[in-house]
């Protein structure tokens, strides 16, 4: 994806066990921060609303 010009950080992967709720919270915070810093997704969004 990054190779084709989608900003790194738009798409995130992680691996969390079902017992790791605190890691879950950390990752949610992290991902939200990254995406916030990137700003809105204007590139890939389809201009007309998809029905």
């Amino acid at each position: 994806m990054e190779h084709m010009g989608v900003e790194p950080g738009r798409l995130n992967f992680s691996w969390i066990s079902s017992a790791e709720s605190s890691k879950f919270v950390d990752v949610v915070k992290g991902v939200t921060e990254t995406v916030k810093a990137l700003g809105p997704n204007n590139n890939f969004k389809k201009a007309a609303k998809v029905a």
Binding site: L11, A19, E20, K36, G39
Partner: protein, 66 residues
């Protein structure tokens, strides 16, 4: 204008991260409200189609977690 609040579509595995999310809820932990959770039966169900569809329809970010 208020601060930008992204919409993050999250694909969570039923057995891993979805469980973790549940546990976080049970433990009353606080986390940002920007994620929109989609439960998938297993991360193996994930397909490139899904995150492309999410981004096309206006998601600001995608998070896949197993």
């Amino acid at each position: 204008m208020t601060e930008f609040e992204p919409k993050i579509v999250s694909f969570l595995c039923n057995w891993c991260s979805y469980g973790a999310a549940d546990l976080a809820g049970v433990g009353r932990m606080e986390y940002p409200p920007n994620i929109r959770v989609i439960r998938i039966p297993c991360t193996g169900r994930m397909s490139p189609k899904f995150f492309l569809a999410a981004l096309r329809q206006g998601a600001d970010g995608v998070w896949v977690s197993g």
